[in-house]
C-alpha cells in the first residue's frame, strides 16, 4: 500500500515526462545527417577531390586548423601552409577554404546548423557572395 499516492503518482508522472521527452519529440523522425555539397566551380576543376588534409581529420579538426592558421598569420607573419603532400597553400579563411568551398551555405553552414554551432568569423571575414 502506498501513502500519499496522489502526490507520489503526480511526481512520478513528471519524472517520466522529463526523462522521456527526447524520445517523444524524436519518435518516428527520420535520422538524416546534413548533405554536404562539393559542387563548386573550384572543386569541380580539381583532378582529385581532396581537401588540404585527410577528410576524416578535417571533419573533426578543421576548427583547430583554422585557429592555428590565425596564430601563424597574425602573430608569426607566416602565410604559407604546407600540407602532408608538400603542396603549399595561402593560410586564409576566405581566400583558401572558401575559394574551394565557395558554397558556404550548403557546406560549412549545413554542418554547423545540424551541430548547432555558430562561429562568429563572418562578422569580420568576408563570406563569398551567394549566387542568386
Amino acid at each position: 500500500m502506498m501513502f500519499n499516492s496522489r502526490n507520489i503518482i503526480i511526481g512520478l508522472i513528471i519524472f517520466v515526462g522529463i526523462f522521456t521527452f527526447p524520445f517523444v519529440l524524436s519518435a518516428g523522425k527520420a535520422n538524416e545527417a546534413p548533405k554536404l555539397s562539393l559542387d563548386t566551380p573550384v572543386i569541380n576543376e580539381l583532378g582529385t577531390e581532396e581537401c588540404l588534409l585527410d577528410t576524416e581529420y578535417m571533419r573533426s579538426n578543421h576548427m583547430q586548423l583554422l585557429a592555428d592558421w590565425k596564430v601563424e598569420v597574425v602573430r608569426n607573419g607566416n602565410r604559407v601552409f604546407v600540407n602532408d603532400e608538400g603542396r603549399e597553400f595561402n593560410m586564409s579563411l576566405q581566400n583558401t577554404c572558401l575559394e574551394c568551398h565557395s558554397n558556404k551555405e550548403e557546406f560549412c553552414d549545413a554542418c554547423h546548423t545540424y551541430a548547432e554551432v555558430d562561429p562568429n568569423c563572418w562578422d569580420c571575414h568576408v563570406a563569398p557572395e551567394v549566387v542568386k
Partner: protein
C-alpha cells in the same frame, strides 16, 4: 580502501569499453544496446524505488525546523522555515531543491587551543555543491543540441550564453569547466578532511570518479582530441528516434564518455544518487507543520479499548457514594435523561 576500489572499478570500466570497441568491434553493444538498457534501468528502477519508499508511513509532522511555528495571531511566524500550509511548504521545498538552503546553514565544529569547542559557518561545501549541481544541469541541457534535430531554441540560447567566452577562436563552455572543478573540489575535500574521509565509503567515491570521468572525456573531446561531432549526433538522434545507427568514424573516446554516462544513470536507482528523488520525500522538508491546527492520526493505529472516567464512575457510583468519595455526576447520563421525562 573504498577510494582505491572505486578507482579500480572506473579504470576497469574504461578499459572494458576501450578493448570492446577497439579490439572486438563491439560498437553496437556500447553505442546502442547498453544505452537502451541503462535508460530503462534508470527509469524503471527509479519508479520502483520511489514506490517502495511511499509504502513507509510517516505518521507525524516532523517539526525539527528552525523558525517560529504558527500559533497565536500576535506571534510572528516564520512562513518559509516553519510553514503551516501546503503552498508555503512548496516554497520551502523549492528553495531547498534550487538553492540547497539547509546545506547553507552547515556549520563546522572545531577545538580551539585544544579545549574550546567552537562552531563556524562552513559555506564551501554549499558553494561547491551548488556550482556542481547547477553546472551538471546546464551541461545536460546543453547536450540536447546533440540529441535533438531540430535543436530547441532554449538549448541554443543556453549554449550561446554559456559559450560567451572564446579561447583560441573557439567557444569555451564555462559550465563544463566549472563542473570538473567542483567535482574535483568535492573529492579533495573528502580526502583531506580526516573526519569526512573516515566516513567515506566506496559508494561515495565511485560516483565522484564516474562523474570526473564523464567530464574529463567530454572536455577532451571538445577541446583536445576532437571527435566527429556530426557522426556522433547521427548516433544519438538515432537512439532517441528508435532508428539506431552506428556511423563510421566515431572515436573511442566518445564510447568511453557514453559508457560512463550509462554506468552513472543505471547506478542511480541503487545508490545514494537517489537523493534526486528522495529530496522531495524528506519528511522534515515536505510536511507543513500544522500539528496545532489539525489532528494527525497514526495510520497504523489499531482500535484501542478504552475505559473513560465517566464510564468508570457509572460502574462504581454506588460504591463511591457509599464510601463518601466526591462524584462528578450524581446519576448516570441514562438515568438523568429518564428522570427529565
Amino acid at each position: 580502501m573504498g577510494l582505491n576500489f572505486s578507482l579500480l572499478i572506473v579504470a576497469a570500466l574504461i578499459l572494458a569499453v576501450f578493448l570492446g570497441v577497439e579490439a572486438l568491434g563491439l560498437s553496437f553493444l556500447f553505442g546502442v544496446i547498453i544505452p537502451y538498457l541503462a535508460i530503462a534501468t534508470f527509469i524503471i528502477g527509479f519508479i520502483l524505488k520511489v514506490v517502495k519508499w511511499a509504502k513507509a508511513p510517516v505518521p507525524f509532522r516532523i517539526t525539527t525546523t528552525s523558525g517560529q511555528q504558527k500559533s497565536l495571531p500576535w506571534i510572528k511566524d516564520n512562513k518559509i522555515d516553519n510553514p503551516a500550509t501546503t503552498s508555503w511548504t512548496m516554497v520551502r521545498m523549492a528553495l531547498e531543491v534550487l538553492f540547497f538552503r539547509s546545506l547553507f546553514k552547515n556549520t563546522k565544529a572545531e577545538l580551539v587551543d585544544g579545549k574550546k569547542l567552537t562552531y563556524q559557518w562552513e559555506k564551501w561545501l554549499w558553494l561547491a555543491g551548488l556550482v556542481f549541481h547547477w553546472s551538471f544541469l546546464i551541461v545536460v541541457v546543453r547536450h540536447f543540441r546533440l540529441f535533438l534535430e531540430p535543436v530547441p531554441a532554449f538549448v541554443t540560447l543556453i549554449g550561446k550564453i554559456d559559450g560567451f567566452f572564446m579561447v583560441d577562436l573557439q567557444n569555451v563552455y564555462i559550465t563544463g569547466v566549472l563542473l570538473l572543478a567542483a567535482v574535483t573540489f568535492l573529492f579533495i575535500r573528502r580526502v583531506l578532511i580526516p573526519q569526512v574521509r573516515y566516513i567515506s565509503l566506496a559508494a561515495d567515491y565511485f560516483p565522484l570518479f564516474v562523474i570526473m570521468g564523464i567530464a574529463t572525456t567530454g572536455i577532451l573531446m571538445k577541446y583536445f582530441y576532437r571527435v566527429d561531432v556530426v557522426s556522433i549526433k547521427e548516433l544519438t538522434v538515432g537512439l532517441f528516434s528508435f532508428n539506431p545507427v552506428i556511423p563510421e568514424g566515431v572515436s573511442v573516446l566518445f564510447y568511453i564518455h557514453l559508457f560512463l554516462v550509462c554506468t552513472l544513470i543505471s547506478y542511480i536507482p541503487f545508490s545514494k544518487l537517489m537523493h534526486m528523488g528522495g529530496i522531495f520525500l524528506s519528511p522534515t522538508r515536505n510536511m507543513p507543520n500544522n500539528s496545532r491546527a489539525e489532528r494527525h492520526i497514526n495510520p497504523w493505529n489499531y482500535p484501542v479499548k478504552v475505559h473513560t472516567y465517566a464510564e468508570y464512575e457509572d460502574e462504581f457510583r454506588d460504591k463511591m457514594r457509599a464510601a463518601g468519595l466526591p462524584l462528578d455526576r450524581e446519576s448516570s447520563e441514562a438515568e438523568a435523561a429518564a428522570t427529565k421525562e
